[in-house]
């Protein structure tokens, strides 16, 4: 186990290094720099001073070295566009909000998705099954930004039940979470249903029934645990989807999360912020995938983490 964790950790570091390098290359291959986009009025001398201040006049390889150093020390320096704030400040302010949105989304998606899927499987070809699967198809087909605007129109503008935007109370959180969670809920529900249907035909379910166990015990203890394997597998990808989903949803609902800084930083060529947010997102995602693997091995004892190819 310890060996596995160490190896896994080394791979994670290597992955982040590759992402950091690619980000650096891509970022600098976008034409222009932080100062060419707006402020045309700055004089030549000021430009040069600014470039020198942010090491933009140095050769690429030196800039790359500086970037790696900042990465190693977790200090990405101040934002170029908002010089009063460091990248770490932005992350520290934006991440908790994004994380709150993301965690609620994944929790609600898991609970409602699994419940719907299990009910649909148990009432296979029944009315509940049809309703659940119709909802699931709708959930998968409707993009979250469409759903978000529809929700605002109906719940906030027409019915005036919920506040239309920002992030300050639980009431503000309802619509963004619904908009973001619908897609993943639908995916989880469909997946749970199909794997549940498969598991329910397994011999060990028959054995459990032959033991005289109660239906609830059969479903929860014997079927669900096995049926959740595929759900756990896609959880990593789902987290990534929710993460990118937050960019759009945060913008629509004017939520001051990380997505805002991420998008703005690219528009502004705000190099430190781009690098900081990208690496942070990647690191977070990699860590989530790691957690998924751990959960996987807890759910299924046949999967041994220390064996080769355990990831």
């Amino acid at each position: 186990m310890a060996i596995y964790l160490i190896r896994r950790f080394v791979i994670m570091i290597a992955t982040i290094f590759v992402i950091a390098t690619l980000t650096f290359i891509l970022m600098h291959s976008i034409p222009g720099n932080p100062f060419t986009t707006q402020d045309r009025s700055t004089s030549e001398a000021v430009q040069e001073n600014l470039n020198a201040h942010y090491h933009l006049d140095e050769p690429m390889i030196v800039q790359y070295g500086i970037w790696l150093k900042s990465l190693a020390t977790f200090d990405f320096g101040p934002s170029i566009k908002q010089p009063t704030e460091t990248v770490n400040d932005l992350l520290g302010r934006g991440f908790p909000i994004s994380a709150e949105l993301g965690m609620w989304t994944i929790t609600i998606a898991l609970i409602s998705g699994i419940t719907l899927g299990v009910l649909a499987a148990l009432k296979h070809n029944g009315i509940i099954d049809y309703i659940a699967m119709t909802l699931a198809v709708l959930g998968i087909s409707i993009p979250n930004f469409i759903l978000a605007t529809l929700l605002i129109q109906q719940l906030a503008v027409n019915l005036q039940l919920l506040p239309a935007a920002t992030w300050s109370s639980p009431m503000h959180m309802i619509m963004p979470i619904i908009a973001l969670a619908t897609g993943p809920t639908a995916i989880i529900a469909r997946l749970t249903r199909s794997s549940m249907l498969e598991v329910l035909t397994q011999d060990y379910i028959k054995t459990a029934r032959a033991k005289g166990l109660s239906p609830a015990k059969i479903v929860i203890k014997h079927a669900l645990r096995n049926a959740l394997m595929p759900v756990v597998t896609i959880l990593g990808t789902l987290v990534a989807a929710i993460l990118t989903g937050t960019f759009v949803i945060e913008r629509i609902f004017a939520i001051p999360g990380m997505g805002k800084y991420f998008v703005e930083s690219i528009n502004n060529r705000d190099y430190p912020v781009i690098m900081g947010t990208t690496v942070f997102y990647s690191a977070f995602l990699i860590f989530m995938l790691f957690l998924v693997d751990i959960v996987y091995s807890i759910l299924d004892p046949r999967i041994k983490l220390h064996k080769k190819g355990g990831s």
Partner: protein, 329 residues
């Protein structure tokens, strides 16, 4: 002898997209206390459906017992409520399925799966349940039971798993054990061990056993009585010796001839030609007519009445009917 189980005129139908399958069409069967009854027959003859019916484990809603009764210790299981049935399953009647590789839940420890039935049906504590589990593992011949309890099914071999499945079925000390092809998925050497185990357990606990199989070798080893099923009906029943030494139904004879034997004179096995009847539209008469070398006109039109050849031996075949003309010997 006391009859522990009596099946009377059992009919089981399955509705499918293709129509209704009449899987079991009037099975009459009884089981004496402490004996082993083997139900033999080829795939699709209805033997598994019959045994699942006893447990009320017919897949619903597609499968349905449309007629007949299954009396277990005087109680009709067909009319028993689901809740009462749950109290009978695992406690009074246990069942072992074909494939031990899939009969155990891969994500739960063997100890957990062994004891959960006991915990469900009785009020024993964890320590007591564990002691009972250890005892059962000892009974089925698993070494180091203490450490084995914490292991998962994938850490056991096929034969070991079947032993665990048997231990699991016996942990509540049932009166009736139904084994649905318990050795089909195992190696030949393991098969023999498992069958020995069944015999041993029966001697120790006095449990009555219904053994569903298509393996006549298994039958010869452990069964007291044999019921031969064909086309959803029991066409011949008798003591083991009746069936093996004096088979009367052409199908039983064919079945015995299709088993390789060491003392066989000719080198060629005699398979039974043809295929089993279509149970979507079962034949009016004897289901074996189409494949029977001795078929008569009456066979195709009327199902034979039961002929009682001796107290133990019954057959459903017009050839054995009292009205059939016999050739002078």
């Amino acid at each position: 002898m006391e009859k522990i189980l009596e099946i009377d005129d059992l009919h089981v139908h399955f509705s499918t997209y293709g129509g209704t399958v009449q899987a079991v069409r009037g099975v009459n069967l009884y089981l004496n206390k402490g004996e082993t009854l083997a139900i033999v027959g080829e795939s699709g003859s209805g033997k598994s459906v019959t045994s699942n019916s006893i447990m009320q484990l017919i897949p619903s809603p597609s499968g349905k017992i449309v007629r007949g009764s299954i009396r277990f210790k005087g109680k009709d299981l067909v009319k028993t409520s689901k809740k009462e049935m749950r109290a009978i399953r695992g406690v009074d009647i246990s069942m072992i399925f074909q494939d031990p590789m899939t009969a155990l839940n891969p994500t739960l420890t063997v100890g957990d799966q062994l004891t959960e039935g006991l915990k469900q049906h009785t009020s024993v504590g964890s320590a007591e349940a564990k002691a009972k589990a250890l005892e059962m593992l000892g009974l089925v011949g698993i070494a180091n039971p203490e450490s084995r309890l914490k292991q998962y099914p994938h850490q056991f071999s096929g034969g070991m798993r079947q032993r665990i499945v048997i231990a699991m079925a016996l942990i509540c000390e049932p009166d009736l054990l139904i084994a649905d092809e318990p050795t089909t998925a195992l190696d030949v050497t393991i098969q023999a061990q498992i069958m020995e185990l069944f015999k041993e357990i029966q001697e120790k606990t006095g449990v009555s056993i219904i053994l569903v199989t298509h393996d006549l070798g298994v039958v010869a080893r452990v069964a007291d009585r044999v019921a031969v099923m064909y086309g959803g009906k029991i066409i011949e029943t008798g003591d083991k010796d009746d069936i093996f030494y004096h088979p009367q139904h052409p199908y039983t004879i064919g079945l015995l001839q299709s088993v390789p034997r060491l003392d066989m004179k000719e080198g060629i096995l005699q398979p039974i030609d043809g295929t089993p009847p279509d149970l979507f539209a079962p034949p009016q008469g004897c289901p074996f007519t189409a494949r029977c070398a001795h078929a008569m006109q009456v066979c195709a039109n009327v199902h034979p009445v039961t002929s009682y050849l001796s107290e133990s031996h019954q057959v459903e075949c017009w050839l054995q009917d009292a009205r059939a003309k016999r050739q002078p010997v």
